[in-house]
Amino acid sequence: MRFAFTEDQLLFRDAVRDALAKEAGPDHLRAAWEAPTAAPFGDRKVWSTLADMGVLGLTVPEAHGGMGMNELDLVLLLEETGRVALPEPIVETVAVAAPLLAAVAPAELQAEWLPRIAAGDAVIAYRSATQPLVLGADAADLLIVDGGDGLVAVPGHALHLERQTSVDGARRLFAATWTPSDAVVLGPGSAAATAFDRGALGSAAQLLGLAQHLLDVTVGYVKQREQFGVPIGSFQAVKHHLADALLQLEFARPVVYRAAYSMAHGLDTRSRDVSMAKCYASDAATFVARQALQCHGAIAYTVEYDLHLWMKRVWALSASWGDAAFHRERVAIDVLGS
């Protein structure tokens, strides 16, 4: 029994954290809000950096130029992408698409796409059966679609897109249509369940990072903001809000890590464990965001202060890949019966 990450996993996490802090700071996030539709990721510098570090190829098999690693290696890195509210569809590309392609796609599709993913030369979007809108579709080189009865892939250039504006301006959501003859069969629909679990786990990890950032910023703020001649962080009402925020976040964290372990080891309980993770991460991040706003007061109720960028991502992501209620019920069906 050892519920901790390896030294290597932690070092990789630290390296990714440093790189993202340098290259994917608030400017990068604000740029994603302001970018015109066709160029969502600026010069793709951040995407290239993540490729160079091996993050984009982490789940790509070694034979295709990746690292052939699993959810347990990925979860801390996705948490870091949440910490900076990374706008790029990394969960879709790395957590969902790459392992899905590697598991079910015909050999020629694997050979075409997996090396490109690892090299940072491809963005893959994903449309699940329960979530019809596609994140990052305008930047996608390939869209994978769970049609319910089978998985198909559509080249990005063949997509007809209609923008659906999200409260989070950095989330580029689209309704996508295509001519059926442009779609190629990727694999059986049975693989979609695992893909969905991976997406839910990936977004749960990002929610942890988002919540951690919101809490860190708020703790910093209440230490320096003074009212009545003292820092507002010295007031018990404020302390208790933030203690509660930390409580929810710290208890969600091991739940998410355990789900990554269950997925990586293919445990029978993996879908239930992922649902518990997404349920806790969604609830915790939503709660932390609420406390963050309240403890800041009016300054956080503006778009001139950056907090809203993270808060809006939390609102969007907590409801993506199944919200807390959806996943709570999935656990309930398993434990209590339907």
Binding site: K239, A243, L247, F251, P254, V331, L336
Partner: protein
């Protein structure tokens, strides 16, 4: 990361499980917070001790098995899964013993620990006073030096002393230097309750059991040998104990996983008409216990590898105490109008155990440092917010 136990640990689990299956009383014992029930629980403790299950994590020389922290968690999980009796010795075993191990002299450890393991000495805690609860450093019970006798004379009052009316000994803080500032000048004493000048009065708790006591001291003499740690250093000694109380040693995850397993069972029997809200409460409680287990596994990994959780033990206490209330609220929700039935009511479900448990759970956010105090600790010592 490896979330499986090794062969040795699984063998330990199998041994626990077999012993418990053979020895746990078929019918629940009467409440250990009553005079009769307490005596029966002490008999149970002696049975545990006879087969070396009373203090599994202690060294063998004191009656334990030298079990690892992991094995202790396994023992607790099996213990509560088996529906074994409440541990009326727990304040000694889980709160005082760790303090002995850290601060006790060899003579004290040799004398007290085996007697505690064997349930010969039954310990209660003497922290709170009528005017010092959350503000523990405000205690006024005092100890005055008696040079001629080689000891101290205790005067004052302790209160909310769990099972004080049935225990044999009390550990607690007394002010030995009235001139010193609040946290200084306190000393940690070990007091036999049959000492002349000590009077114990039982107090009925919320559930009606005489589980509380007030303890009065009038010039009660205790020798120097009954001081744990150094004179005037009692605050630091006591804090070592209170962090045990907040942390996992008092409330292992096994206890709550067993409770939510019973809750799921109750849902199967009584949940059919409960509706979606109750279903959500039941599954949330089940998940919360599982989350506590996971949090603990991470905590224990940290402890085993030398990373101290420190003030984070306050998070732990917030979680289990508030979860315990929610578990019981969900159960009472499932029971609806049957929930109020207790004791010998013919229609009481599970002999009224859920209402009893609910009332007990309400003490969790109060004892071992109220949850308001815990939130202050988390904010100040984990998040680093200013004290003033």
């Amino acid at each position: 990361m490896d979330l499986t136990f090794g062969d040795e640990d699984e063998a330990f689990r199998a041994e626990c499980r077999a012993w418990l299956a053979a020895n746990v009383p078929a019918a629940p014992l009467p409440s250990g917070d009553t005079s009769d029930g307490f005596a029966q629980h002490v008999e149970w403790e002696k049975l545990l001790f006879a087969d070396r299950w009373s203090v599994v994590s202690w060294p063998e020389e004191y009656g334990g098995r030298g079990a690892s922290l992991w094995q202790w968690l396994i023992f607790e999980e099996e213990y509560y899964r088996a529906g074994a009796p409440q541990r009326v010795t727990q304040n000694g075993i889980f709160l005082l013993a760790p303090t002995f191990f850290e601060f006790g002299t060899q003579e004290q450890k040799d004398h007290y620990l085996p007697r505690m393991a064997a349930a010969d000495d039954l310990w209660c805690q003497g922290w709170s006073e009528p005017n010092a609860g959350s503000d523990l450093a405000g205690i006024t019970s005092r100890a005055v030096r008696d040079e001629a006798m080689g000891g101290w004379r205790l005067t004052g009052q302790k209160t909310w002393t769990t099972r004080g009316a049935f225990c044999t000994d009390l550990f607690g803080l007394f002010r030995t230097d009235p001139e010193a500032s609040r946290h200084k000048g306190l000393t940690y004493f070990l007091v036999p309750l049959d000492t002349e000048g000590v009077t114990v009065r039982g107090v009925g708790r919320l559930d009606g059991d005489e589980g509380f006591a007030e303890v009065f001291f009038e010039d009660a003499f205790v020798p120097d040998a009954n001081i744990l740690g150094d004179v005037h250093q009692g605050w630091g000694v006591a804090m070592a104990t209170t962090s045990s109380e907040r942390g996992l040693t008092l409330r292992s995850p096994g206890r709550f996983m067993a409770a939510t397993a019973r809750l799921v069972d109750l849902y199967r029997r009584h949940g059919a008409t409960g509706g979606a809200t109750l279903r959500d409460q039941v599954i949330q409680a089940w998940m919360d216990a599982e989350a506590y287990q996971l949090y603990t596994l991470r905590d224990v990994t940290d402890i085993v590898e030398g990373r101290s959780p420190g003030a984070r033990s306050s998070l732990n206490k917030l979680w289990w105490s508030e979860m315990d209330v929610r578990i019981h609220e969900a159960a009472l929700g499932l029971l609806g109008p049957l929930g109020e039935l207790v004791d010998d009511a013919p229609d009481a479900v599970d002999a009224g155990a859920w209402m009893k448990g609910f009332q007990f759970s309400l003490s969790g956010p109060i004892y071992a440092g109220t949850n308001e105090i815990q939130r202050n600790i988390v904010a100040e010592r984990v998040l680093g917010l200013p004290r003033k």
